[in-house]
Symmetry: C2
Subunit: 472 residues, 2 copies
């Protein structure tokens, strides 16, 4: 059959070009339309060719963007499922985090350690316009306290956006905060007492660990898979035992693992936790930054009892420096409002209004689309670089969204020591030990692909690889 | 002697005019220059006349502003020294605070309950200019995270301003926060563990009580005088006993009492606490709003061991909605930086820069001078209104700075019930019970004089007075 012959020929041709490096990982491939025109084939033939390459894991498609070269997934070993122990050494975590973030020089250092989008990726001109408008229109030009619950227009926009994950929030269901960590802090303080226990994923964002410890909470780290997230059965057993009052989950594109809890597991977790009266604090900071065809759902999607406190912010998508975040606290709204009044009275007035009118302008979706494509391409390029430069026994996560790649190295590696060596060369990584209270993940590190990809970044990955090989 | 005869005549004349209400409390009196011209006397005679009236407590002088009529202080009974008990009922405090601040309607309600300056008192045009400049000059137009320690220009300006209270801070000694309560929260979390005990003034700002309880701290309320603040001997005994790890002091123009700890007592407290290793968390939010000739000193002024964490913000002087505050954490700087990174990463970028350049412009002192004069006049007018309208056995504080008057009523009064009655008439007061964890101060209330004084405000005081008399 001509059709079948043709699509195989086209696919073979592209495959050869990938193998010989004509097309590089992360690169955009010719569009369907271009192939039709140049090869004189039908659209279905061109599509068939890409489908077969996709099946082999050679290319990946992203909606409204086209096909990209990916590192062959079968070549990439994913990190081992984590098996956290029980002996905590919080001070070591604390000291390491201090060290890594004491050297915050944006000018000189390549910051693989910081999970924020480069400012080149942000809609600065439009945001400035919204700020200027906000100064003009707000009472007292933004000098006055915003209400404790926060800007109503912003809450309304967030309620509208919740439709993307099948949420049915109203503006009354939301409380604005000073970023996502502030939201999570409010949840922990409003819902828990010192001495209470919470379950979390492991490895997990160090700020969450430290915040919980600082509030006198007992943190139980659970085994976590780099693709599917927390061990659901372990979490369910713990809930049933009555030992935990809450669990904190970074449900989508987890920091640092990149894992996402599948929808059916989310539903299972929500139902089980409601049954055993365990609160779910959901950090959905990265949910909008998905690389596949649609936004992942949230635990909050399945929440009927008001037991899920869903948190987010614009720090990873629009403007870290604006300090605008939020929580949909379910049945804990009164407690959250009270806690917010106590902790900080209200969040910054001006930026709430600016983000609200930016959302109202309808440009957020368009901006997100571009940002997602860029991050996806960056992730593929970073994976490609790591595979080429790091030792052969390296394992790494291949996240389907967010900012982070989790790298697991040979057991003998010590990334805390590696950090010191790399800092001398103005490269900053996040050592794995930061992401646990226990003495583990010393052979792991978290790398952010939020930076603008260029030769300098690529070279820095090569330097890390060289140091790793030298250490073996 | 002609001179002595003349000045007595002038003084008598003014006194008569005050008594007959020609000059009203809070009103500005003719300047020295005017009296010289109109009465044809020397400057020293005019001054002598005012000195004698000042001695009688009939007028008060404010530097670079002139003489004002004050309510005769000898007629005003000051509140009794507080005698806190030991039985705590934190829930009652919590619920009352929730209730009072759930009705936050700026439009309809006269908010005697809120301690912020009316926006008419703020330098809005200039602040807007600084915001626009900041958007233009900041990297990423203010979308990027500020460093954890905060804007260096702002820290430098604060260091310069510390000279007003004989402080010798450098920019390295300061950390920027999201307002003053955020600063105090950081201090409590960085320095204390759940279960630790702290000493505070009583009555005291409810947010501090709730924050401390929320962090699992044991709060010990100490007896406090409406003029001289906390009972120094009781505090010293408690420190010596080893029972407390820290004390929190609103050292100048305390909220709600209006008290200020005298300089010599501050020095005594600082030395004693250093000796017994008790941390001092100093809330100096109101220190710049003094009505007398110079800024009061701080505990931090006398701190040689780095044991005092000094906190402040622009929320009461420039812009509550900007959320810009700070702490000079002494020897606890590393802990504070770490805690800030955990809690909120960084404070809002844009407003830090705008406040810094506003300070640099040299207009802050001029603005403060005007604001102080206005607040001082408002305080005198409010005291006058209270004396005229409230029951005769009313006791009240006569603060020498800040925003607040503390009113102590007949023992049978219940200001929590009064709150409900007044809210129906769109008047909001802060019932005394909010300012303690114990069942006391039910017969007290806090009134803010930060509103623009007009007939409506005066009438509202009359309404409160009428309701109080009806209740007797």
């Amino acid at each position: 059959m001509l059709h079948s012959f043709l699509y195989r020929e086209i696919a073979k041709n592209i495959e050869r070009k990938i193998e010989t490096g004509v097309f590089k990982a992360g690169e955009k491939l010719p569009s369907i339309r271009t192939i039709c025109r140049e090869q004189g084939v039908s659209m279905s033939t061109a599509l068939e060719a890409y489908y077969s390459l996709e099946g082999k894991g050679l290319v990946a498609s992203y909606p409204k963007s086209g096909y990209y070269v990916c590192q062959k997934r079968r070549d990439i070993a994913k990190p081992n499922v984590s098996t956290p122990g029980h002996l905590q050494n919080a001070d070591a975590t604390h000291n390491l985090v201090s060290k890594v973030f004491s050297e915050f020089d944006f000018e000189k250092t390549i910051l693989f350690s910081v999970g924020v989008p480069s400012q080149e990726y942000l809609p600065l001109a439009r945001l400035n316009k919204e700020l200027h408008k906000a100064i003009l229109t707000l009472p007292g030009n933004g000098t006055q306290y915003e209400s404790v619950q926060g800007n109503p227009k912003l809450r309304r926009q967030l309620a509208l956006q919740s439709m993307h994950w099948n949420g049915n929030l109203t503006e009354e269901d939301l409380v604005i905060t000073s970023g996502c960590m502030d939201a999570i802090g409010l949840c922990l303080m409003a819902v828990l007492k010192p001495g209470d226990s919470i379950a979390i994923e492991s490895p997990v964002y160090f700020g969450l660990l430290q915040l919980a410890k600082g509030l006198g909470l007992n943190v139980i780290e659970l085994s976590t898979d780099a693709q599917t997230g927390i061990d659901v059965d372990a979490l369910k057993r713990l809930a049933k035992s009555g030992k935990i009052k809450a669990c904190c989950l970074i449900s989508n594109f987890n920091n640092p693992l990149g894992s996402s809890i599948p929808s059916e597991s989310k539903k299972e977790i929500v139902e089980w936790m409601a049954k055993y009266n365990v609160v779910i604090i959901e950090d959905d900071l990265y949910g909008d930054l998905y690389f596949e065809s649609r936004r992942p759902l949230c635990c909050k999607t399945f929440d009927v009892s008001g037991n899920v406190l869903w948190c987010g912010s614009v720090s990873k998508t629009l403007a870290p420096g604006y300090r605008v975040g939020w929580v949909a606290p379910g049945k804990y709204k009164e407690q959250i409002l009270q806690q917010k009044l106590i902790n900080s009275v209200s969040a910054v007035t001006l930026q709430q209004e600016a983000v609200a009118t930016f959302f109202e302008s309808g440009r957020y979706e368009n901006h997100l689309r571009k940002l997602r494509n860029t991050l996806c391409t960056n992730s593929l390029k970073m994976i490609d670089s790591i595979v080429r430069h790091f030792p052969e026994d390296t394992r790494l996560s291949t996240p389907k969204g967010g900012f982070m790649i989790w790298v697991e190295l040979n057991k003998n590696c010590n990334t805390s020591k590696l950090f010191d060596i790399l800092m001398e060369q103005h490269i900053s990584i996040a050592p794995g030990r930061m992401f646990t209270l226990q003495n583990q993940y010393q052979n792991c590190m978290r790398l952010s692909f939020g930076l603008v990809w260029n030769k300098k970044i690529e070279d820095a990955i090569a330097v890390i690889g060289k140091e790793l090989k030298r250490g073996q």
